[in-house]
Point group: D2
Chain length 304, copies 4
């Protein structure tokens, strides 16, 4: 069973179709040192849908090479084209990845019976363990609780990452662990990591862990140990990350831009973003720098 | 200036990654004979996002070959990955297509400034004339009127297809023709073709024209000639297509399934659908057959 | 059968709970002179839900008195409390109103069977003819086509006003006139008045007719006569009203504020608004004055 | 500071405009005995907007009389008409209520500046302490965090009830307690009571506490004491209430219908509902009875 903090890696880019391999190496080393429990590439934070297939394959190969089996590597294969999802899945297995993750195809929204059938068609084609990825704000479709229940008899499924932000839904997932105690139920939005772990969830796939891996690991550990006071204190810092670093931009790209910009300030990697998005300009960069300085001090103090 | 009926072709498939070339040929001949004014491939009705890139390229090549310059061919290059959109655009030019069409990248929603910048980055990479494709229910993002206005100085843009279903928005687009009288403003939902043409729009990209090309052409002609009574009579038949053929399924895939199933009954092509969707089962097939029989009789009478 | 232009009256107010009776009289005379075909009070534009019950009763009584049977008076009885809707309905009959109009109760959204049952319980309590009012953006619930169809056997219902802005839905309503040719199908948003009448609808309940009654009447007449060119020309003016007078404020109250402010500039009535809204401040007032001057000249020229 | 469980009372009715006074008395005694910390009347669960003003006043008077100061009584004054909200507020003070609660006026949605101004106009008219009520799914408008922050300097405001179901928003409210440590931040949806109290919130306004007051009080106590294991166990029972009692109906009225039906089975009061809603029919009643029997046994065991 997977548990703990599995950061959804941003994708370091030199330009629209060029991987920043050195930046990727620095990022991975930072996260390994930071004590995280796995890596998730080619997700939403990784700008997965904006990357060419060639680049996705390169990223998978390089990540697996750089990780050297020190951590499990989860690869996002979400795609609107079934055939391309399977292609990426096979490439991931060849490269040595650990598991695959997919949200529903995200153009024309599926009905639940269609979604169920889709997953049932996909599973036999997959060479690795599989996690469901619930992301209704971007895919338009949720894995309804009854659909998840219908999938509980699939041994190839090992869990679900829920990025709905709907804590009631997350509780319902946790209630289903009676039937599949081996599943992992993981939280996407970091503002709910506290709730997720106190409620019996297994950890988080939280973007902010790209920047501050120790903070998220410490929060996970405190909550998993039932130390409510300590967990609440660390959660307040995560809320502060969220209310500063993610609020500089005005569009839904603001979170990724904020994370990439912070990593650029930290010398980890460039903050180039694939179209249709673009890195922050000078004014926003300065605001991120200011926020980062405050956060670093607060977090260092709290973790001391 | 493009005007008239430009059916968004369904994509005839033999299986998940195999084009039904013979079906495609029969479909194209049917539409040419039916008097349509152009063809649009790899759109929503064409299950574009569900097709592998290999298949998209094959479809472009084959369509251009089969059309033999008898009609303009518009190719959808909508994609979440900029690089892949450009790849398809270049392939389209090489294959002899007429123009390109793109909706906004449809995973993480862009703000309007991001969308504007995206189009401005895309245009220089495109080897053919370009049409905007407004489809907010599926892309989550609309081309706001102010964004369209900002793009009016781009000579490579020749018009816009609006599938928002929002007739007020369509009227606003038509009001903008004062500044760009060479633009084409085309209606997606066929239930609004009457309104669009009476309001000064240039025609429709209507799924039902795959099945009944003459009906849509006749409606376009009547409305363009200001013959309100005749146009209203033909519009009632389009409404009947919509309230029968498109209402058999319960999910948003119902329209495409209905069109493909009808074409299958007509012997044009198979009704295989790419995942995550599937053709109608026997019960739905029978309902489509019944609806088709009624519609054929009504339409034949009206067009006699 | 009701047809033509039935302006949804703004409610002239002196303060939060005081009717501006003189302003109401001037407004009514302006509309009678302008040639409108009826008046609709206590609707959305009339700030109905913001008015105390006492004030609503006073407004009904005064309006009927001032109209002196020169025009039919429609009264909105929409309310979340069944008992209060019936109270207002009875008061309306006593005051001499012509008909009643109700949208669904708008707090907790009803399912369609609940909505159907609600209307069926309401009808026997009503002392006057009744019109359905479809306003899903504000009531959260639409009268689904099947629900309207189920209500077609109710003799007390005389028609429907559709403010959904969904022209496909409006076409579906018009298709139902085969079964109830005596019904009136009326359009709310004035940007769709052209489409509505060309499609066979019976007219409009359009806010802008408070300010420019002649324009809307002329557009209705041209469209009803099948004069597409003339109707399109007048429609362009309505679009101009919409893109100037209604775009000054940023919130959904902008339309009502714009209409009231314009009427205030014209000396018809004060522009006080009941909470939670407030009249425009000086800067917005000036922009409305500028827009009004341009529109008046354009409209005068067009109607000359 | 208010903390603990404050059930939002259902309104026992004999018919559309008649209070079931005996049922109300039994319900209040049940809740007092069950150990709850306050009562909230005329909220969403109390069908507030469906009740005539006369009935609302009677309900306030009777509740205060029956409570005999054993518990604080909170009265919902949410209304689309400012004047009527103030009328109810004054009646509440005269009747001896403790505090007032209001959500935004819920017909035409306000912008945040309009909402802020509305609250600032309302406060001086209120004779009792006041709580904000955030209920965006029904009022269409949220109290944005910045709006709540702007209201923190209002001494008459004592807290906020959040029924958004958005746990991130709730966390943001809790972070604001640094500035107003005397505020109460209360959770609406009972499925999030666990999270709310573990996160530092002050309790819940949970519909299920009408039926099982002891369960919700026990969960509150365990969570407030930091006893995660015990709280999680009781939370599982609340989730079971939610997944059975509230899932019998298909519409948004299902929760209220389920609670009223359960109380009817328990002999507390009739389950009549004000229009536009109606009590469950026999089939649904039987399913509620079955669910109730299972829940009663589980809860009795857990609380033993």
């Amino acid at each position: 069973m997977t548990s703990g903090i599995i950061p959804p890696l941003i994708t370091p880019l030199k330009d629209r179709d060029t991987l920043d391999r050195d930046g990727l190496e620095r990022l991975i080393e930072r996260l390994v040192t930071g004590g995280v429990h796995g890596l998730f590439i080619i997700g939403t934070t990784g700008e997965g849908p904006s990357l060419s297939y060639r680049l996705r394959r390169e990223l998978i190969t390089e990540t697996c090479k750089l990780v050297r089996n020190r951590l499990p590597v989860f690869v996002g294969i979400t795609d609107t084209a079934f055939v391309e999802s399977v292609n990426i899945a096979k490439h991931s297995a060849d490269a040595g990845a650990t598991a695959l993750v997919a949200a529903p195809p995200y153009y024309l929204p599926e009905g639940q019976p269609e979604l169920l059938e889709y997953i049932r068609h996909l599973l036999p084609e997959l060479p690795l363990p599989f996690y469901l990825y619930n992301m209704p704000s971007l895919t338009k479709v949720s894995f309804d609780i009854d659909t998840v229940r219908a999938l509980q008899d699939e041994p190839k499924i090992h869990g679900i990452k829920d990025s709905s932000g709907n804590m009631v839904y997350f509780h319902r997932l946790c209630q289903m662990l009676k039937e599949r105690p081996d599943w992992s139920v993981l939280m996407g939005p970091e503002e709910l990591l506290l709730d997720a772990v106190l409620a019996g969830g297994h950890g988080g796939v939280n973007g902010g862990a790209n920047v501050f891996p120790q903070l998220y690991v410490a929060l996970y550990n405190a909550a998993a140990a039932g130390n409510v006071q300590r967990a609440r204190q660390l959660h307040a810092l995560v809320m502060h990350v969220s209310s500063t670093l993610y609020q500089v931009g005005r569009h839904s790209s603001a979170i990724i831009k904020g994370i990439k910009c912070a990593l650029s300030h930290l010398g980890v990697c460039d903050d180039f973003m694939a179209e249709p998005f673009h890195r922050f300009r000078d004014q926003e960069r300065a605001r991120i720098a200011d926020a980062l300085a405050v956060l670093q001090e607060e977090i260092t103090t709290a973790l001391a």
